[in-house]
């Protein structure tokens, strides 16, 4: 197996995904097959090659330190699943 059940549980935890037992089994199989296929990239010797972080050769893109209007509090909270006054509310962290 290119990826083990434990490794699947580990990345699921990293990604905050709660998987059922069935999902863990199914995903382990599928991810193994996919990983085997993508591991193909390691067949190439690319020791002298630079990675491409961006397709375009850009640098120094930025904006002036001038304020733009912010959202109103109601706009900011418009889609909030739960709120308390002007705050977003979530279960205890």
């Amino acid at each position: 197996m290119a990826i083990t059940r434990d490794e699947v549980l580990h990345v699921a935890r990293l990604a905050r995904l709660e998987l059922t037992d069935e999902e863990v089994g199914r995903f382990t199989e599928q991810l193994s097959a996919i990983l085997e296929a993508v591991a193909k990239v390691s067949e190439l010797d690319l020791s002298g090659v630079e990675p491409t972080a961006h397709p375009l050769d850009l640098a120094n893109v930025w904006a002036e330190d001038e304020p733009r209007p912010s959202l109103t509090v109601d706009e900011a909270l418009a889609n909030a699943p739960d709120r308390q006054d002007g705050f977003f509310r979530v279960p205890p962290a």
Binding site: V11, R16, I34, V38, K40, L44, L58, N79
Partner: protein
């Protein structure tokens, strides 16, 4: 009487300018067509009442202020943006208005629109087949006479491939020429919004309306030259390259090959110089490269869907439980797979071998294409190895589904533009022809595509709807 199956956007603008038809009448005509045909096709997730301009449909990952935007996922069901995507604003400022939001594979992950959290879309040519993906809803809407034109998005081929399967024109622009501000992100270094239209001229018109640097998107640039709406009917002086590996890739159906070969011959007849070329590693390693880079970026881009500020929330005893339950309930299988794959590829100890290596493969792919473009102006191939496949045929096999993109992915990894035009039928279903150019060569692609389109005379109206 407005024939929504045939009307191009260019004609629609002309009719409105001449006062022969009002924009309200246009919208009404398309809404009527939607009422008639969309129950079957399910191209749309919702329509809106905004008859001010020439109608246009947006894939549901384009943020539209006050209008639900789900990116095809239940984790965003009910989410209404408080801002417009830049492309939405530019469309409005160019005289268009929203007809509706179209269906898509969840978070743009898929090649058939079967991964939508809200049910699949059907191909107007044959409703038992897929329209392609992830912009399947937009493709079906245009092909099925339910919108004059539409915006889709392309990361691994999600504009080009559905355009191919539905027999319409789709452009994946040069990376950085169309703003991603307000576009629900999948893979940031690959995503681009692309026009999906009935004709190449319409495509150029729509591209012109949306392209250009956006101060809200640091990865955009000004176009080095203005967009030209094509006119010429010949290809004199054009050097057309046929990359061996793209045209002989495993899995290309014979009918697709024949249609593509005929089109290559047509290029010669129209005056182009045609020659063979090679992209030795781009095709062989393209898929693997894409399925490392895209999921890695996606695993990070999709982490914000946590139930805190918007979208679905499933409560938990503490915030960690809330995250896990929300994300498990809200994401479908494909996003879950890609998130885990991506997290793995970025994780400590694996970064160099997987993500790091894939980013280097990207450089190799860009170099190979650049070398080919020293001798050729345009590279050609079929867009998709197959015509539209049946619903359910590849849904259970992720790797088989990924192979649908084997021809569109390589040039995407290099940030290059690609135009797909319908070039014929195979077993009664459309075949798409892919034109790839160097960065900023959209005018060449439009010119080439238009001349071919006129010569081929493909009828974009699906047989069963004529």
């Amino acid at each position: 009487m407005i024939d929504t199956l045939r009307l191009t956007a260019e004609e629609a603008f002309r009719l409105v300018e001449r006062g022969e038809v009002s924009t309200a009448e246009l919208h009404a005509a398309y809404l009527a067509a939607i009422a008639e045909r969309d129950d079957e096709l399910h191209a749309y997730l919702r329509t809106v009442d905004d008859p001010q301009g020439i109608p246009i449909a947006f894939k549901d990952l384009v943020s539209t202020r006050g209008v639900e935007t789900t990116a095809g996922s239940r984790i965003l069901a009910g989410y209404k943006p408080v801002f417009d995507a830049t492309v939405a604003t530019r469309c409005r400022e160019s005289g268009m208005s929203l007809l509706g939001k179209t269906n898509m594979d969840e978070f743009a992950m898929g090649s058939s629109t079967e991964n939508s959290g809200f049910g699949p879309t059907k191909n107007p040519w044959d409703p038992e087949r897929v329209p392609g993906g992830s912009s399947g809803g937009s493709a079906a809407a245009v092909a099925g006479g339910l919108a004059p034109w539409a915006l889709g998005s392309d990361t691994g081929g999600s504009v080009k491939q559905p355009a191919s399967l539905c027999g319409i024109v789709g452009l994946r622009p040069t990376y950085g020429t169309v703003s991603r501000y307000g576009i629900v992100a999948f893979a940031s270094s690959l995503d681009q919004i692309g026009p999906m239209t009935k004709t190449v001229r319409d495509n150029a018109l729509l591209y012109r309306a949306i392209a250009g640097r956006d101060p809200m998107d640091s990865t955009t640039v000004e176009l080095p030259e203005a967009v030209q709406v094509p006119d010429a009917l010949d290809l004199k002086g054009l050097r057309v390259g046929v990359p061996k590996e793209l045209n002989e890739a495993e899995g290309i159906e014979p009918g697709v090959n024949e249609a593509a070969d005929r089109t290559i011959e047509l290029c010669r007849e129209l005056g182009a110089e045609v020659g063979e070329t090679s992209l030795p590693r781009s095709v062989e390693f393209g898929l693997a490269c894409y399925y490392l880079v895209a999921p890695a970026e996606a695993s990070s881009n999709l982490a914000r869907y946590d139930g805190v500020r918007y979208g679905l929330r499933v409560e938990g005893a503490d915030v960690r439980e809330m995250y896990e339950k929300t994300r498990d309930a809200g994401f479908g299988d494909e996003p879950k797979r890609r998130i885990m794959l991506g997290a793995y590829a970025l994780s400590a100890g694996y970064y160099d071998a997987y993500y790091g290596q894939a980013q280097k493969v990207r450089t190799v792919i860009a170099q190979e294409h650049a070398a080919a473009f020293e001798s050729f102006d345009v590279l050609v191939s079929p867009t998709s190895p197959t015509v539209a496949f049946r619903l359910g045929e590849k849904a259970e096999n992720p790797l088989a589904m990924y192979l649908s993109d084997v021809l569109t992915i390589p040039s995407n990894m290099a940030g290059l533009p690609g135009l797909s035009i319908p070039c014929g039928l195979s077993e009664g279903l459309p075949v798409g022809f892919q034109l790839i150019g160097p960065q900023f060569s959209e005018n060449v692609l439009f010119r080439t595509g238009h001349a071919l389109e006129r010569a081929i005379g493909f009828d974009v109206v699906p047989g069963r709807l004529r």
